[in-house]
């Protein structure tokens, strides 16, 4: 057991993650070819417009469900909405935000773009703290769009174009289907002003997504409403990212490797639960932490993956004791 633990603590999380992401990407994007269907309550951006997807991003059904007439939404039929939500939660609480860091095809895409940038040799950019703290709020606005627009539509206050307004703007709609050869989403819908606006916004957002994730690691995840939704329910999850404040030296290694620039991970020495709304639970921080046990990933209060000096040395390639 202790040997297994040691093995896990020494794991090269980078490589592990790459392969998990690749398999998850293939599974989700091409799963349809193998008739895999995991349902329509996936807590990741696997777009329903991808005909061969092995599941569907929960936002699409959620928006459609919320857009029902209020009379119907607040009747017994509303139970369907709740049951779908319950399934979403069940999926979510197993992996917590690791859905973002390990499974989300859109996240994986961004990581690949980052890999490409690294290969080319272009340095990345970061936000300043002030930019960061104002920009990160955008995702809650998007979440509000996801929930409020359909609800208002159901109340009859908006036209039908607003039914899945966020989906229209989401880069996932344009990107995921491309992998099964469907480029039809790359179009501007001229049928109404709203449609023009939404589809054009979608294209702009997608371009921004591509360019942004080229220069900024995990560019889109700052604005991802799914991430915001995850955060709301993360207290119920069984997978936790924990920090032992007294062991932290605030050296900032974790902060620097963090794709999401989460300041607290290095600077907050008081909270034990260090999972923040931007976190994608990629575990890079644990892998980069040189302090014994300062950061660890817990599953039901059992440390699954801990930061160790030994593991750090191995991952940095300095573990050979004598040169």
């Amino acid at each position: 057991m202790s040997r297994l633990k040691k093995f896990i603590d020494r794991a090269d999380i980078r490589r592990f993650r790459f392969w998990v992401q690749l398999s998850a990407f293939i599974l989700f994007v091409y799963g349809g070819y193998l008739s895999i269907d995991l349902g329509r309550e996936m807590p990741v951006f696997i777009c329903g417009y991808d005909q061969e997807a092995a599941g569907m991003c929960y936002f699409m059904p959620l928006q459609h469900q919320l857009a029902r007439d209020w009379e119907r939404l607040f009747s017994a039929a509303g139970l369907g909405v709740l049951s779908a939500f319950a399934i979403f939660l069940l999926w979510f609480i197993i992996f917590n935000k690791a859905w973002c860091g390990y499974i989300c095809p859109l996240g994986t895409m961004q990581d690949w773009i980052t890999l490409l940038r690294k290969k080319i040799g272009v340095a990345y950019s970061n936000y300043t703290q002030s930019q960061y703290s104002s920009l990160k709020k955008i995702k809650y606005i998007f979440l509000a769009i996801v929930i409020i627009f359909p609800l208002l539509m159901g109340a009859g206050l908006f036209g039908g174009e607003w039914r899945a307004a966020f989906c229209k703007m989401c880069p996932g709609r344009l990107i995921t289907p491309m992998f099964v050869g469907d480029f039809s989403q790359w179009s501007i819908d001229f049928s109404s002003n709203t449609a023009i606006f939404l589809t054009a916004f979608g294209i702009a957002f997608t371009i921004l997504f591509i360019v942004g994730s080229f220069v900024k690691k995990r560019f889109f995840c700052f604005y991802c409403p799914m991430s915001a939704m995850h955060y709301i329910f993360s207290p119920f999850s069984i997978l936790r990212l924990k920090k032992e404040g007294d062991k932290c030296t605030k050296c900032g290694d974790c902060y620097r490797v963090c794709d999401m620039q989460i300041f607290d991970i290095a600077d907050d020495v008081v909270s034990k639960n260090i999972l923040r709304d931007d976190c994608i639970l990629c575990l890079k921080c644990i892998a980069a932490c040189p302090e014994e046990d300062a950061l660890h990933l817990d599953i039901v209060n059992m440390a699954l993956f801990r930061s160790t000096k030994d593991g750090f040395a191995k991952r940095m390639g300095v573990d050979k004791e004598r040169e």
């Binding site: 300043t128 605030k250 620097r256």
Partner: protein
């Protein structure tokens, strides 16, 4: 100075010693005395320590110099980034000095009540005689404490080429981080111009790894100190870390690993370097720098054992290994910069919660019985912080002894009384705790 003829006629022929060689002789005498008490004052030193004893003897007593083939960069504080210096092919030599002889000659430049360390450094530089190296190409000066910052102009006047790195005194803000990163970046640039070599990704990566290996070796050594009984005494640890100031880093790393291997064996055998009830002491405050290791020596002569420390001559020097996400120069230089700012627990910072946390954590992990806090007379920051540290330690129930010292050897009596009384009281405490434990069982 030309000596045209005898100034005075004396009965007895007496050749007046050249001040420089006299100074050198005094230094050597001081070094020998200190080394002897470290080496022969205790029995059963680890065999691998011989290398370090020998190294100090060669450098400080026989006048041997190291690194004749590489550019030598003098550093005034641990904030001068080692990794960058190594990456550019230079060798960092820490100029912090512990010689009383130098302190006295350095006293000419500074007020009476000021930090002995800075005085000694000034004195040494004034003699243009650095024991470890034969020349200094460059001095890096991070603007850490006031006394160093002000004395640097004196050093420049002595004819050294100095690079100033601006260092923020408030590390909690994002601005300070950016500010310091800038300082480090421009330092890297400047140094590469001075040395005439380009900073490359490969050399930088190598340098980071080189330093990381040294850090790891130190961590291995300090991990061994967690054992009770301890395999080695604290004075030796200080000597080892002092050697890092000037020794070749790879050789040093290998030697520390060799030492660790030996100590590991001792641990397996259950060997105790101290006595049965020696209180485990955490040392903090002004750095003990060879040959001024009197405080750790005194503690251990009084039957305590220094198992951990929080000072810039050991623990702080090796903390915070650097982790890099993408091996770009920017990233690496920034990563290196962060190591020296955020993780640092130097008392010059405004609100030093980190230091309290670090001390509490060390006390917990090394099962510390008491803390000895040294402040050089005149080091205001350490003196001021003493109170809040004391309060903090009281909260977790660990007694602390605060002593104010300087490099003068004449202080022995009163100082040792305090140390001994402190250790005696710790022993009583420990015995009582043991007793209670046994009673409980």
């Amino acid at each position: 100075m030309s000596q045209s003829g005898p100034l005075k006629t004396r009965k007895r022929e007496r050749k007046v010693e050249d001040p420089k060689s006299r100074h050198k002789r005094h230094e050597a005498m001081e070094a020998v005395k200190a080394l002897d008490s470290i080496r022969f004052g205790f029995s059963e030193n680890p065999k691998e320590m011989e290398y370090f004893y020998d190294l100090f003897e060669r450098v400080y007593c026989s006048g041997e110099t190291l690194h004749t083939d590489k550019p030598t960069i003098g550093t005034l504080c641990i904030q001068a980034p080692y990794e960058i210096i190594y990456a550019l092919g230079g060798v960092p030599v820490r100029l912090c000095n512990g010689f009383h002889t130098d302190e006295q000659s350095g006293g000419d430049f500074m007020p009476a009540k000021s930090c002995s360390l800075v005085k000694a450094t000034l004195g040494m530089l004034n003699q243009h005689n650095i024991p470890t190296v034969d020349r200094l190409d460059f001095i890096v000066h991070p603007t850490t404490c006031d006394q160093k910052t002000k004395s640097i102009s004196t050093i420049e006047d002595m004819g050294y080429s100095v690079y100033h790195m601006e260092f923020p005194r408030h590390k909690e803000s994002e601005e300070s981080r950016e500010y310091w990163r800038r300082s480090v970046r421009s330092f890297a640039k400047e140094l590469s111009v001075k040395i005439g070599r380009k900073l490359t990704r490969k050399s930088m990566k190598e340098a980071i790894k080189k330093v990381a290996r040294a850090q790891l070796a130190y961590h291995r050594l300090s991990e061994l100190m967690k054992n009770d009984p301890v395999p080695i005494l604290g004075k030796d640890i200080f000597l080892v870390t002092n050697a890092f100031f000037f020794d070749d880093i790879e050789r040093w790393t290998n030697r520390v690993h060799a030492l660790c291997d030996e100590l590991q064996k001792r641990v397996d055998e259950g060997y105790n370097a101290a006595s049965k009830r020696s209180p485990r002491i955490l040392y903090t405050g002004s750095p003990p720098i060879f040959p001024n290791l009197k405080l750790p020596l005194m503690i251990e002569q009084a039957d305590g054992v220094v198992v951990a420390d929080e000072s810039c001559s050991a623990n702080r020097l090796f903390n915070d290994m650097v982790s890099v996400d993408e091996w770009f120069l920017y990233d690496m230089v920034d990563a290196v910069a962060d190591r020296y700012l955020k993780g640092c627990t130097c008392p010059i910072f405004t609100r030093n919660e980190d230091r309290k946390r670090r001390l509490a954590d060390l006390a917990k992990r090394y099962s510390i019985d008491g803390v000895v806090y040294q402040s050089f007379a005149g080091c205001q920051v350490y003196e001021m912080e003493q109170r809040s540290i004391q309060r903090e330690l009281e909260k977790i129930g660990i007694p602390m002894l605060y002593v104010e010292t300087d490099y003068s050897p004449g202080q022995g009596g009163q100082l040792s009384t305090r140390i001994e009384a402190f250790i005696e009281s710790l022993k009583v405490r420990k015995r009582r705790v043991d007793h209670k434990k046994r009673g409980a069982v």
